[in-house]
Symmetry: D2
Subunit: 105 residues, 4 copies
């Protein structure tokens, strides 16, 4: 499943709704909501506030997928090619601004 496929799949799925995509501010609010759900999961799994045993199974993978889904909605609604953007970012990480940002081994 490539980034292009993912963008197409989301476009197909959202195509059944009206409007197909919310406004950028609404999609951003949804992303903030999904980010919050991941945050709760991180505190549950790794923080002081442990989950009760009945709810122990991790849903982190699904929370991460929800975030990607929302990011793809934003990209699709704005005509952004994530594959191209991803390559540009990785290129900059390797050769540009982020090159010496962290301690190498």
């Amino acid at each position: 499943m490539t980034l292009k496929n993912i963008q197409e799949d989301v476009d197909k799925w959202t195509g059944q709704f009206k409007p197909q995509y919310w406004t950028p501010h609404e999609i951003l609010a949804r992303l903030t909501e999904e980010n919050g759900e991941l945050a709760r999961e991180v505190n549950h799994l790794f923080g002081t506030k442990k989950k009760k045993s009945s709810e122990q199974e991790s849903s982190m993978g699904q929370e991460l997928s929800d975030i990607i889904f929302t990011v793809v909605c934003m990209a699709n609604s704005q005509g952004i090619d994530l594959q191209k953007e991803w390559e540009q970012m990785m290129n900059e990480k390797q050769y540009g601004r982020d090159k010496n940002r962290f301690d190498k081994k």
Copy 2:
């Protein structure tokens, strides 16, 4: 109820727990979670995804209180005096960096 009172009330309430305050990263994650709940409420009230009538009452005031509570926990855990910080910020808004940031009437 002053900011000082608020910090004291939170300190008193959290004082019954062990540990009294989580780590900064855990409090931050909680803040992200609360921010997400506000985001859901904003989309419910003002966005495309309307709430069903049975859940129409706004909880925005409580969500905002939850955020303030979490901010106060962070401040208390780090020995930060919010009254002093608030005055410094308002002072900078009036006389400093933010003075000409937005369009005046």
Copy 3:
């Protein structure tokens, strides 16, 4: 400085701009931005990615004030009385839903 004073001060300061308050979605986006600045500060101070010595002074108190400011803007724009909401929340924490949420000493 009481919560009422704070709401009045913000109302006075924002009163010089047009519009006085953004839409709820825009204020929420600003809150997400401020939350992000606090997150960067938390990682700088307590995480793996340490700040360089030239930027070591903590701005956490100012970041927390920025969050409170944004929360107050949201409350003011929606006619929410934060003092009343705060008391309701603390009351619920003491006698209601949150009473047994965490481990007591």
Copy 4:
């Protein structure tokens, strides 16, 4: 570029650093920071606070890539297979819990 490729590329790039991945709470804080940068961009492009002309070019595609990068770091650090999680989520959207969540055309 598939989700598997993306996870591998990130793993290879992060493999040059020590530690390769931060703790979940640190990665979450980074995600909150990136979410905040997207929020600023959304307000700049679509909100009341317009950017000055000198900074008009949109960086939304890069902000979205930064979020995906951070999500992939979290997944890699926890041994999560994003391809599998993505398929499960899309499957649930089509046949499960989210099926009737929004208004169809």
